[in-house]
């Protein structure tokens, strides 16, 4: 069953952000369940300026590929090298060990609270 932690906010494209500084970004378990086993992550490098709503990477599974949309604007300050090396951690723990990157946020994109995202994911 998909979970929707209440302390996170979400995009309609199935990314999540937390409220820490810098902000941690990942993909939801709704996304990982739809993708299946993730085998390859392409993430921006540290120092890249990203823009909310823009494609900043891709998540490839055995069955498919999906683009990663930035939930925020800002600068990438850290990427999860462990997840790049072994993307299965994103399936196993999408809200924890499977985070993707940390961003110094300058502006937020359109973010949903857990209830709103759950409604969307269920639809």
């Amino acid at each position: 069953m998909a979970t929707f932690p209440a302390n996170l906010r979400y995009t309609a494209e199935h990314e999540w952000v937390d409220d820490s500084v810098p902000t941690t970004i990942g993909i939801t378990d709704t996304a990982t369940e739809a993708l299946g086993d993730i085998v390859y992550l392409e993430l921006p490098t540290v120092g890249t300026d990203i823009e909310a709503g823009a494609v900043i990477g891709e998540v490839e599974s055995t069955k498919s590929v999906s683009e990663l949309f930035s939930p925020v604007s800002g600068t990438v300050v850290e990427v999860n090298q462990a997840a790049i090396d072994d993307p299965s951690v994103v399936n196993a723990d999408p809200y924890g060990e499977g985070w993707l990157m940390k961003v110094q946020v300058s502006a937020e994109g359109e973010l949903l609270d857990a209830a709103a995202y759950e409604g969307l994911a269920a639809g």
């Binding site: 299946g36 086993d37 085998v39 390859y40 891709e58 490839e60 599974s61 055995t62 069955k63």
Partner: protein, 378 residues
């Protein structure tokens, strides 16, 4: 009417992610594509293939009707054996690839892809006209369960007491009526994974009991239920074509590298060349250099080529498109991306370095022979 596998509730109870396949709700995966794939390579997997079409061709003229309808020589098929064949158009292009079982002198079953089952039924019915044969669609009444993997023999034997020897001695691409759970069941040694395995055809009413018994019997051997995602990556590693990808109505068996299934030498009782649908077109294609050739590609990077991606020659600027990927995925067994692609003959030689345009960036690939994976023998 939406067709339904009699095992749908079983899949839901197992927590499967379902996918629509030719109108059927079928399990895509139960837990993990890779885990299910690996289980089939190392132990076994249990598949529900009830969406496949089963069409019986019955009668004194059944063998001749099939000789006319299909490109293969079905008169020569011995009772108890199965053969891979194709149903082609007059222009030689493939309507479907099928497995034909000869259950008795005058009784055949044609197993068709789910997406093509109705058109195969239509074509067989039309093509059997004038022969002493009738064509019966049994698809809605029959469930198909496959056990695939190196432990298959032990697992199927466990639900078929006293039948181990029959199963053990069953050659590849053979079938027999085997006593399973107290019922006479059509069992064949066939599959679509590159592993040893069995396929069991049962009436819908027996499907749940059989599924549960196999699941139970297979557990100590490491068998897991496996979905269509694993089935697709397994068949790709084994270099087996998938209709709609490597085969379609613009492709002849020769382009697909499957010219061996076209039996131009089949003859009637007087030794004269036997007419069959597509013969003239296929005769002229045989030996001619096809405009495109199906090749295997090994990805040299990490990103996988996917169906529909362009194959390019020269990964730098000025690259020209030389083909198109038909199937591609990261290979769980081999650990690198693999793909099948149609390319122009000039770039089809083994070892040729090409590129695949993976969403705007050329990824390097090398032409390699397929199957990409062969099971260890012995």
């Amino acid at each position: 009417m939406t067709p339904t596998s009699p095992l749908l509730a079983e899949h839901e109870a197992l927590g499967a992610t379902l996918t629509d396949f030719a109108g059927w709700q079928m399990p895509l995966r139960y837990t993990s594509d890779i885990a299910e794939h690996t289980a089939v390579r190392e132990a076994a997997g249990l598949f529900d293939l009830s969406h496949m079409g089963e069409i019986a061709v019955i009668g004194r003229g059944a063998e001749r009707a099939l000789d006319y309808a299909l490109v293969g020589n079905l008169t020569a098929l011995a009772v108890g054996r199965a053969r891979y064949s194709m149903l082609c158009q007059e222009d030689g292009a493939v309507i479907d690839d099928v497995v034909v079982y000869r259950l008795a002198e005058e009784r055949f079953v044609v197993v068709a892809n789910a997406s093509n089952a109705s058109v195969v039924l239509e074509e067989l019915t039309a093509r059997a006209e004038g022969f002493d044969a009738h064509v019966v669609d049994m698809s809605a009444d029959i469930a198909l369960v496959a056990v695939q993997g190196p432990r298959s023999l032990e697992i199927v034997s466990a639900v078929a007491p006293g039948q181990h020897k029959v199963l053990d001695q069953m050659p590849y691409y053979a079938s027999a009526t085997v006593r399973v759970l107290g019922h006479d069941v059509l069992v064949s040694r066939t599959g679509y994974t590159g592993e040893d395995g069995f396929e069991l055809y049962v009436p819908n009413a027996l499907a749940v009991e059989l599924w549960r018994a196999l699941l139970e019997a297979g557990r100590p051997f490491g068998m897991v239920p496996a979905g269509l995602a694993a089935r697709d990556s397994l068949r790709l590693e084994a270099g087996m074509p998938l209709y709609g990808h490597e085969l379609d109505r613009t492709t002849t068996p020769f382009e697909a590298g499957l010219g061996r299934v076209v039996k131009l030498d089949k003859t009637d009782d007087d030794g004269a060349p036997l007419a069959f649908v597509g013969r003239a077109a296929l005769e002229s294609r045989k030996g001619a250099q096809p405009a495109r050739v199906l090749v295997g590609l090994q990805g040299l990077g990490r990103r996988a080529a996917r169906a529909g991606y362009p194959v390019v020659s020269g990964t730098q600027e000025g690259a020209v498109v030389v083909g198109s990927v038909t199937s591609g995925a990261p290979s769980p067994t081999l650990g690198y991306p693999i793909a099948l692609a149609y390319v122009t003959p000039e770039v089809s030689a083994e070892g040729t370095e090409l590129g695949v345009d993976v969403r705007g960036r050329a990824e390097p690939v090398r032409v390699v022979p397929f199957p990409f994976y062969r099971r260890p023998q012995g």
